[in-house]
Symmetry: C2
C-alpha cells in the first residue's frame, strides 16, 4: 500500500502543509497511517476524502459544514454526486453574475443605467427559483414536483427573465399599496394575491388556494423566503403573507 507524505499531497493539491496539519488537528482529514518516524502517511482513501474537502472548500463551505456533509454518507459515489451537485449550483451562480456583468457593460455603453437592485441581488445565496421546488415539495407533493421540474426544464434564460419581471411587477404593485398605507385586507391587495397565484400557476405548477395559503405562511416562517422577498422592499414578505392569509380566510 503506497502512502504519501504531507508535502507530496500538499503539492499535488496546490495547498500548504499547514492546511493539512490543520485538517488533521481538527479531525477533518486524519492521515490513516503514520510512518515509523511519525511522518503523516496519506492513503488513497485519504486522498479521495481530500478531493471532496477541496471541492466543498472551493464553494466556500465552512470546515464544520464540510465535516458534516462528509459524514452524511459512507457511499463514495453518493458523496461524489453530492459534491457534483453543489458545483453545479455554484456554476449557475457564477453564470448569473457573468450575465449581470454583461448587462452592466451593455448598460454602460448605451448609457442606460441598471438599478441598484439589479446590480446587487445576484450576489445573494438565495435563488428563489431553486426554493420554489422546495415550496412545491412541501405543499404540492411529488407528482407536482416532477411536473414542475419537467415544465421548467425547458425554460430559456429569456423565460426566466420574463418570469422574474412578472414577479417584480407584482411585488412593485404590493409595495405601492404599502406606501399608500393600503391595508393587507383590501380589495387591491386581494387582486394582487390573485395575480401572484396566477403567476405561479403559469410558470411553475397549478397553484390551488390551499397551496397558495401554505406558501403565504412559508414566506414569513422560512427566513430564506422572507429575506429574499424583503430584498425587493422592507416588509413585503409580511404584507404579502398577510394579504394571502386574508384572501383565503374569507373564501
Amino acid at each position: 500500500m503506497e502512502t504519501r507524505t504531507v508535502g507530496d499531497v500538499a503539492r499535488m493539491a496546490g495547498i500548504t502543509v499547514r492546511t493539512l496539519h490543520h485538517y488533521d488537528e481538527i479531525g477533518l482529514l486524519r492521515p490513516s497511517e503514520r510512518r515509523d518516524n511519525d511522518y503523516r502517511a496519506y492513503t488513497d482513501a485519504d486522498v479521495s476524502r481530500l478531493q471532496q474537502i477541496l471541492t466543498y472548500r472551493e464553494l466556500d463551505l465552512g470546515l464544520d459544514e464540510i465535516a458534516r456533509l462528509l459524514n452524511e454518507t459512507s457511499d463514495p459515489v453518493d458523496a461524489l454526486r453530492q459534491a457534483r451537485h453543489r458545483i453545479d449550483r455554484q456554476l449557475k451562480k457564477l453564470r448569473r453574475i457573468a450575465a449581470r456583468l454583461d448587462r452592466a457593460i451593455d448598460a454602460e455603453l448605451k448609457g442606460t443605467p441598471m438599478t441598484a437592485y439589479e446590480k446587487l441581488e445576484v450576489f445573494g445565496d438565495f435563488d428563489p427559483n431553486e426554493f420554489v421546488t422546495e415550496a412545491e415539495a412541501r405543499w404540492g407533493g411529488s407528482e407536482l414536483f416532477a411536473a414542475t421540474a419537467k415544465r421548467t426544464s425547458a425554460y430559456t434564460s429569456a423565460d426566466w427573465k420574463r418570469q422574474q419581471a412578472e414577479t417584480d411587477e407584482i411585488y412593485r404593485a404590493l409595495l405601492g399599496l404599502m406606501r399608500e398605507g393600503v391595508s393587507a385586507d383590501s380589495t387591491a391587495a386581494a387582486e394582487l394575491v390573485d395575480a401572484h397565484r396566477s403567476s405561479i400557476d403559469k410558470w411553475f405548477y397549478e397553484c390551488t388556494p390551499e397551496i397558495h395559503a401554505g406558501l403565504g405562511e412559508m414566506y414569513v416562517s422560512d427566513e430564506r423566503f422572507r429575506q429574499s422577498i424583503n430584498r425587493s422592499g422592507d416588509g413585503l414578505a409580511e404584507f404579502l403573507s398577510a394579504a394571502i392569509a386574508v384572501r383565503y380566510s374569507s373564501a
Copy 2:
C-alpha cells in the same frame, strides 16, 4: 439624487451591515455622502463599486487585492470587463473540477481508481495552458501569440486531454531518468528535451531552439511554472530546465 442607507444596500446585496461598515472603515467602499443624522448614504456610483467588489469577492480575492484592481482603471467599462474576465476563469476552473468529479464517479462505478494526482491537481490555481500564452508572448512575439491562439481555439476537450497526456508522458520519462540517477546532460535527457520541444511545436507554436531555451530558463525563474511542473514530481522543473540548457549550450 437618490441615495440608500446601509441597511438597504446590505439587503439588496445579501450581505451584512457589518460588512459595509468594514468596507467603509478600510476605505474599500466609502459612502459618497452622509445624511444630516450621520447615516451613511450610498449613491448609484457606490453601488456600482460594490458590484465589482462583490464580484471579486466571489472569486476569493483578498480585499487588498480588490482595492488594487479597482484602482487600476477609472473607466467603468474596463473595470466591468476585467471582472468579467475573472469570472470566466473561475467558471473554467469549476468546470474542470466538475469534469474531474464526473470522472471520479465513473471510476468508482467501474472500479478503476484514479491516481492521487488526478484527483487533486485540479484544485490548484495554476492552469499551465493559460500560462503557455504568457510564455509565448514573452518569447515568441505577438504574431506567434495570435497564431497560437488561433490554433488552440479550435481544440476540443479531447484535444487538451491528448496534449496533457503527451506532456505527462514526457514528464514521467524525465522523472524516470532522475530516479535512475541519469544526469541532465545525458543523451537520454537530450532526447526528452527534443520530445518536449516537438510537443510544444505540435500543440502550440513553432518552438525554435531559442524559444525553448528561454522557456527552460523560465521554468525555474518563474515560480508559477516551477511549482506547476514540480507537482508532477520533485525537482522536475529544475531537471528539465537544466536539460534544456545543456541541450542548447552544445548546439
